[in-house]
């Protein structure tokens, strides 16, 4: 456990149960310690930022939490349940959905197909798909899903792209699609890996807008982002990683003053 400095939280006694708590998470790649005893809790609803220089271990932390890469040590508790080592898909089904740094939309599928894919409570039985009567039930279920899909596409202003192949979308549009698609799974918490990378300022504005609206609705976000200014002005709490370790954890004002954070960023940048 590193000597992480924790900000004094005023409502300590009223603090709700954390939705995600990561304890002592560790991952080594042939000698490099990509994630080094990282410990943090995320309270439900709200937006937490995760920043750090390149190679700090942010993406690897996400991968370990979702067990896409199995951690070498530590525990991950989501929604009161120990999900360490649970198959990735089951963690996702529990309501913890992540997006990828390089948008991984399914290029050969249309935007609508990408959306429809994600809904978790759908009937994927091959038997139901082929049986005359049961297929009608599947169809009715899909009609309802399609409505939700259209609503989300409209929410993110990409409904005009519904019939396009995801591979033909621009970088920014893909980021929007990834987020819309993640929401189709009806998650409780979203971990977004650089959702603003390659997104132009207008779109970034709109995306932030949507994220804040969703936070109001009670969604929880953990957002990795390189644009420190953006994180500082939009998140109520910021985690800073450096060389696999968690350097600081607290409100933006607190983190901004942290000596080691400033040092990690070679000064200046953080205060900007």
């Amino acid at each position: 456990m590193s000597e992480t400095e924790t900000a004094p939280t005023e409502q300590e006694e009223t603090a709700p149960e954390p939705i995600l708590s990561v304890t002592d998470l560790r991952k080594e790649f042939s000698g490099i310690t990509a994630v080094d005893s990282v410990t943090f809790d995320i309270e439900p609803s709200g937006m937490t930022g995760l920043i750090g220089p390149n190679g700090a271990g942010k993406s690897t932390t996400f991968n370990c939490i979702t067990n896409l890469v199995s951690p070498d040590g530590g525990t991950v508790v989501f929604d009161g349940e120990d999900v360490t080592g649970m198959p990735t898909y089951r963690i996702a089904r529990k309501g913890l959905i992540r997006t990828f740094q390089i948008a991984r939309e399914l290029r050969e599928m249309t935007v609508l197909e990408n959306m429809m894919l994600t809904a978790n409570e759908q009937n994927e039985s091959p038997f139901h798909a082929v049986s005359p009567g049961l297929r009608d039930n599947v169809r009715r279920q899909e009609e309802r899903l399609l409505e939700t899909a259209w609503e989300l596409l409209e929410f993110f202003d990409i409904d005009h792209l519904a019939y396009s192949y995801a591979g033909t979308l621009s970088g920014g549009q893909r980021k929007l699609l990834e987020l819309a698609r993640a929401l189709m799974a009806d998650p409780e918490m979203l971990m977004l890996d650089e959702p603003f990378a390659g997104v132009n300022p207008t779109l970034e504005e709109r995306l932030l807008d949507r994220l804040h609206a969703l936070t109001q609705e009670g969604y929880t976000f953990l957002v990795v982002e390189h644009d420190i200014k953006l994180i500082m002005s939009n998140c109520e709490r910021v985690l800073v990683m450096h060389q696999g370790e968690l350097l600081a954890d607290g409100p933006p004002e607190f983190v901004r003053e942290d000596e080691r954070v400033i040092e990690a960023y070679l000064g200046g940048e953080v205060s900007g």
Partner: protein, 465 residues
């Protein structure tokens, strides 16, 4: 103008209706192949029985290869599973059926005894056995990286073939029941599914109206000079084509459903699919097992009608042939797969034989020289015939050369195959284009949408600016 315009419009509408155009594509291709074969048959002086037989043969082979192709399309085209053990799963299906249906006390001493079950039960056992073999492979192999599946399936198919030809399994006794694979000499397929058709014509299953019906059919064919055996083969082919239609709808429905959508996603990016909450192992296993069952069915319909099957039917070539069917047709398209089977059978498989027959009938082909040197040598004397005769003598090799040329052409010119460019909507609903273009009631953008242009692509650049 307006009438011509109407015709153009209606043709366009029909072509846009993919089901309709798919059906006409398949029927059109088969008709073209029939015409070609009929012309060749006429020039060879075939009588009506010969003509019908030739058409029946290519239709039958097309149907079974298409069925196996559809199974592989489910594996590879939809799910991205690299199955190179097709021959093995086919063998398991046929042998299980054969062992289940062989009589417990065979009349001849050379025949291997079996369980003596009725034909339909035997067929079901064959399908289940192939599916079970698929499950056994799927459980360990699908957890590993994609290329391991190729190694495991290839290994399995060779193990299956060698086991079936080994004498150890030739005849054995379990729990007092003796059965076996017949070793190298193969196994008699008592559960021949075409027997049911034959019974219909020979006895009408002992039911009065049915035997009247079969008698009437035979009479009407006899009046144009077609023999009973040809009618039986023809009828069995019709049955197999019907089963192919059933399998086609089955695979099509699997693809156009939430199940198919998840398979498509797995093919593209398994990690992402997992991250979205899909149990990709289970989905892959289901796809694999269903496909293997269908391979078993295709093989039973194919080999069953021969009455005997031997291990050397299930060499790697068979796997390659099914792959060629899917590659020609275009992975991911069921219609393409059926077209691929039609072209494979009529041109690559049966074509060279027919070509040889034409040439033999037209020219006076000398006796084949004993070596390629001799054959090529005579070209110098301005005589091509010895070379031609030599090539015809090595027809199997010629087929492989042709196969290679076709594959190279496809991979260079059209790697997506005939129909691989066309994407099927991965849903029970048609979500591939706006309802306004479709003209049906499937839900599109909600009617109360604030933006009347939603879904028309007019705002294309708004998002990015």
């Amino acid at each position: 103008m307006s009438r011509a315009g109407n015709v153009v419009e209606s043709v366009r509408a029909r072509l846009a209706d993919s089901d309709y155009s798919d059906r006409s594509l398949i029927v059109g291709t088969m008709l073209a192949i029939y015409v070609l074969y009929l012309l060749v048959g006429f020039s060879l002086g075939f009588d009506v029985n010969g003509q019908v037989n030739a058409l029946q043969r290519i239709t039958f082979l097309t149907a079974v290869f298409a069925m196996a192709g559809l199974a592989l399309n489910l594996h590879w085209g939809y799910t991205g599973l690299f199955n190179v053990g097709i021959a093995g799963f086919m063998a398991v299906g046929v042998y299980a059926m054969g062992m289940a249906t062989a009589p417990q006390n065979p009349e001849t001493t050379t025949a291997v005894p079996g369980l003596g079950l009725p034909i339909p039960v035997g067929i079901l056992i064959g399908i289940l056995a192939a599916a079970l073999a698929g499950l056994i492979v799927a459980l360990p192999a699908l957890r590993l990286r994609a290329d391991y599946l190729a190694i495991v399936t290839l290994g399995l198919s060779e193990i299956v073939r060698l086991s079936f030809s080994s004498n150890t399994l030739g005849e054995f006794t379990i729990a007092g029941t003796t059965m076996g694979t017949g070793g190298n000499s193969g196994i008699n397929l008592v559960g021949d599914p075409s027997k049911i058709v034959r019974q219909f014509y020979e006895t009408g299953f002992g039911i009065g109206p049915l035997s009247d019906l079969s008698g009437a059919i035979l009479d009407s064919f006899a009046s144009v000079g077609i023999e009973q055996i040809v009618v039986i083969n023809l009828s069995y082919t019709v049955v197999v084509v019907g089963i192919l239609g059933f399998v086609y709808v089955l695979v099509q429905r699997l693809g156009n459903s939430p199940f198919g959508r998840s398979l498509k996603a797995i093919k593209e990016d398994e990690e992402t699919t997992q991250s979205l909450g899909k149990n990709t192992q289970l989905l892959k296993a289901k796809s694999f097992v269903i496909g293997c069952g269908l391979l078993g069915l295709a093989a039973i319909l194919w080999q069953g009608s021969r009455g005997l099957t031997t291990p050397d039917t299930y060499m790697i070539e068979l796997t390659v042939f099914i792959w060629v069917v899917v590659i020609i047709g275009g992975a991911g398209s069921n219609t393409g797969t059926v077209l691929g089977a039609a072209l494979f059978v009529s041109i690559l498989d049966e074509g060279p034989r027919f070509f040889r027959d034409i040439v033999n009938a037209t020219f006076d082909i000398p006796r084949a020289p004993t070596s390629i040197v001799e054959a090529v040598g005579s070209i110098g004397e301005g005589d091509l015939m010895p070379l031609l005769a030599y090539v015809f003598g090595e027809l199997a090799a010629l087929q492989f050369v042709l196969l290679g040329v076709v594959l190279i052409l496809i991979i260079k010119r059209r790697p997506e195959g005939l129909m691989g460019h066309r994407k099927e909507p991965a849903s029970t609903l048609d979500i591939s284009r706006p309802a306004t273009e479709r003209g049906d009631g499937a839900p599109g953008p909600p009617a109360g949408s604030s933006d009347p242009e939603a879904g028309t692509g007019e705002k294309e650049d708004a998002t990015d600016e």
